[in-house]
């Protein structure tokens, strides 16, 4: 087994180093090409919490030094969006929970729910500040000045004054920064929970909890800063990630693969029957995920040219692509499976929907519906191929976290650089540099997530151990980790 795991490691290294070679070539050309990006485009993405001088030229016509005004429409939509993203987490819990054997359903559901608990606190204490606090230099991380969500409220004559989150300081609309902070909190929660799909049915709960805390702090928070913060180095390069293709899906999927190297396969894999115990639960989860994803993607219009786009046309575009791409993804996976395996399975359709959602996430507000259909259709086939890799390469990604999110996230980030036409242009519009920038983002985020996760997993493996005992695994994690059973 060790040999095969090192084979996976080798393969991943090769897969990552291939684009690195491209990267070396590309870095030389990227800088001038980058200048071609209009400042308006750059500003269009600015999620700058702090005043971003770079963003100011974006709206030269707007009056300067105008205090931002609370936009209640945007605020209402962002509150709803944040709640919808939270709703994705029980959706994920059911999606994954239905796919495991009956003896592990509660433990699998807990992997998602406990992420809400741990990250909910971590985000308030340090996560938000590390991600969206003022840059400590180099665009790598935020400082701790916003720890405990400090500074988001002040008092004047005893009355509360709420800080407003604004992308462009002179824009007329803004939302309370608390709302932005919580919207982003939900992203952090679900991202680490996505990884649990690769670890299901054998990971020790205590090790998983420590992993959630460490991974969110050491991998997610920096990546969010790199990509979404106006001071982040990938943001400055012009990397496009509308709602988290790189930060959320690629990072979690690649990390899942890194974790597997130390975790190993489930006992009996792949010879024993490990079929899903409740596909209706899984399909319910797919539906909840799709519903919540509208908040995930259409809520991410907050990073638009100004806050008034949070509930504007850009949100409408993201909503439309988030409907179209997963619809196409469900169909294409179904058809691919129909041709390849003989039957159109429910799990296949549901997986295709999720694949379509993953792939459209980085592109949601950058592409038009025609491209969304193409991306969705490709997503179903590419991710179906991604899960088939597991059988070929003999690693045990229990619920295909890598196959769907790692492969889909990478594919989505790259195709965003091909199809972008709104607020940015991609390869098809003749903008080669944008595509190369996407390659840089994919390689940098993927390599960082892979390496840091390897280190975290290694440390946990050597200290508290990652796996339950063989006997406990056979008995089931619900009983041995939680003293509960799902069905009595």
């Amino acid at each position: 087994m060790k040999f095969k795991l090192s084979f996976v490691a080798l393969l991943a290294t090769v897969a990552l180093s291939l684009p690195v070679a491209l990267l070396a070539e590309e870095v030389k050309t990227a800088a001038p090409a980058q200048a071609a990006l209009s400042s308006a485009q750059t500003a269009a993405l600015a999620p700058a919490v702090t005043a971003a001088p770079a963003a100011a030229p974006a709206t030269p016509a707007a009056p300067k030094n105008v205090d931002p005004v609370l936009n209640t429409g945007d605020t209402a939509w962002m509150l709803v969006s944040a709640a919808m993203v939270l709703f994705m987490i029980p959706g994920l819990a059911f999606f994954y929970g239905g796919m495991v054997r009956g003896k592990n359903v509660l433990s699998t559901i807990m992997h998602s729910f406990v992420a809400m608990g741990i990250v909910g606190v971590q985000w308030a204490v340090i996560g938000y500040s590390l991600s969206f606090g003022p840059d400590i230099g180099g665009g790598l991380l935020g400082n701790l000045s916003k720890a405990l969500l400090n500074g988001l409220i002040t008092f004047k004559d005893g009355n509360p004054v709420y800080a407003l989150f604004q992308n462009v300081p002179t824009a007329p609309g803004a939302i309370p920064e608390y709302v932005f902070a919580m919207f982003q909190c939900m992203f952090a929660m679900i991202t680490v929970a996505l990884i649990s799909g690769a670890l299901a049915e054998r990971v020790k709960f205590s090790a998983y909890c420590v992993f959630v805390l460490l991974w969110t702090t050491l991998v997610y928070d920096p990546l969010a800063h790199w990509v979404w913060m106006s001071d982040g180095w990938l943001f400055k390069k012009g990397a496009l990630d509308f709602a988290g293709g790189t930060v959320v899906h690629l990072s979690s999927g690649i990390s899942a693969l890194a974790f597997l190297i130390f975790l190993g396969k489930r006992h009996g894999f792949p010879h024993e029957r490990m079929a899903p115990h409740s596909l209706p639960l899984t399909m319910l989860g797919v539906g909840m995920l799709w519903f919540g994803w509208f908040g995930f993607n259409a809520g991410s219009a907050i990073v638009g040219a100004n806050c008034s786009d949070a509930a504007g046309g850009l949100a409408g575009l993201a909503f439309a692509t988030t409907t179209i791409a997963p619809a196409a993804g469900g169909l294409s996976w179904m058809i691919a499976e129909w041709i390849h395996a003989g039957k159109p399975s429910a799990l296949g359709f549901g997986s295709g929907v999720v694949a379509g959602l993953v792939v459209i996430t980085p592109a949601a507000g950058f592409v038009q519906p025609g491209a969304a259909i193409l991306m969705g259709l490709a997503a179903g086939v590419v991710c179906y191929g991604g899960v088939l890799l597991k059988a070929k390469l003999k690693y045990d990604d229990s619920l295909d976290a890598f196959g769907v999110h790692g492969v889909g996230g990478t594919f989505g980030a790259l195709t965003t650089g091909i199809f972008a036409t709104v607020g940015a242009t991609g390869l098809l519009s003749g903008n080669v540099s944008q595509f190369l920038t996407q390659v840089i983002a994919v390689v940098a985020a993927g390599a960082y997530a892979f390496i840091v996760t390897l280190v975290i997993a290694f440390v946990l493996h050597k200290t508290i151990g990652l796996r339950v005992e063989k006997e406990d695994e056979i008995m089931g994690l619900d009983q041995t980790q939680h003293s509960e059973s799902a069905y009595n």
Partner: protein, 112 residues
């Protein structure tokens, strides 16, 4: 006396029961069972992972009958449980030494 055991497809149970009642069979025992015959099991496919399911759900009915009606009962089951497709099941006929009606203590054919 004979004990007739028939393994049939679950969806045929009602039809077989009605036909047996019509020819005067007064009691049957039904169990949900799993098994396989010559056709073996079937395969299930989840995201490309193929699992062979060895045991297929079936229904087993048991009927105790007097010797003279055995042929008729067997024929009735055979006719009603038949679909002509693979997996229709089997009928087994076993000798039955004794039968006792618990309530009255009657024995033999009287007890059936």
């Amino acid at each position: 006396m004979k004990l007739i055991e028939a393994i049939i497809k679950p969806f045929k149970l009602d039809e077989v029961k009605d036909a047996l009642t019509e020819i005067g069979v007064e009691g049957i025992t039904v169990s949900e069972v799993k098994g396989f015959g010559r056709q073996k099991g079937h395969t299930e496919l989840y995201r490309g992972a193929e699992y062979v399911v060895d045991f297929i759900p079936k229904v087993k009915i048991e009927i105790a009958v007097a010797d003279e009606v055995v042929a008729k009962v067997v024929e009735t089951i055979e006719n009603t449980a038949k679909t002509g497709r693979i997996g229709d099941g089997k009928i087994f006929i076993l000798p039955l030494d004794e039968a006792v009606r618990i309530r009255t203590g009657e024995k033999g054919a009287e007890a059936i």
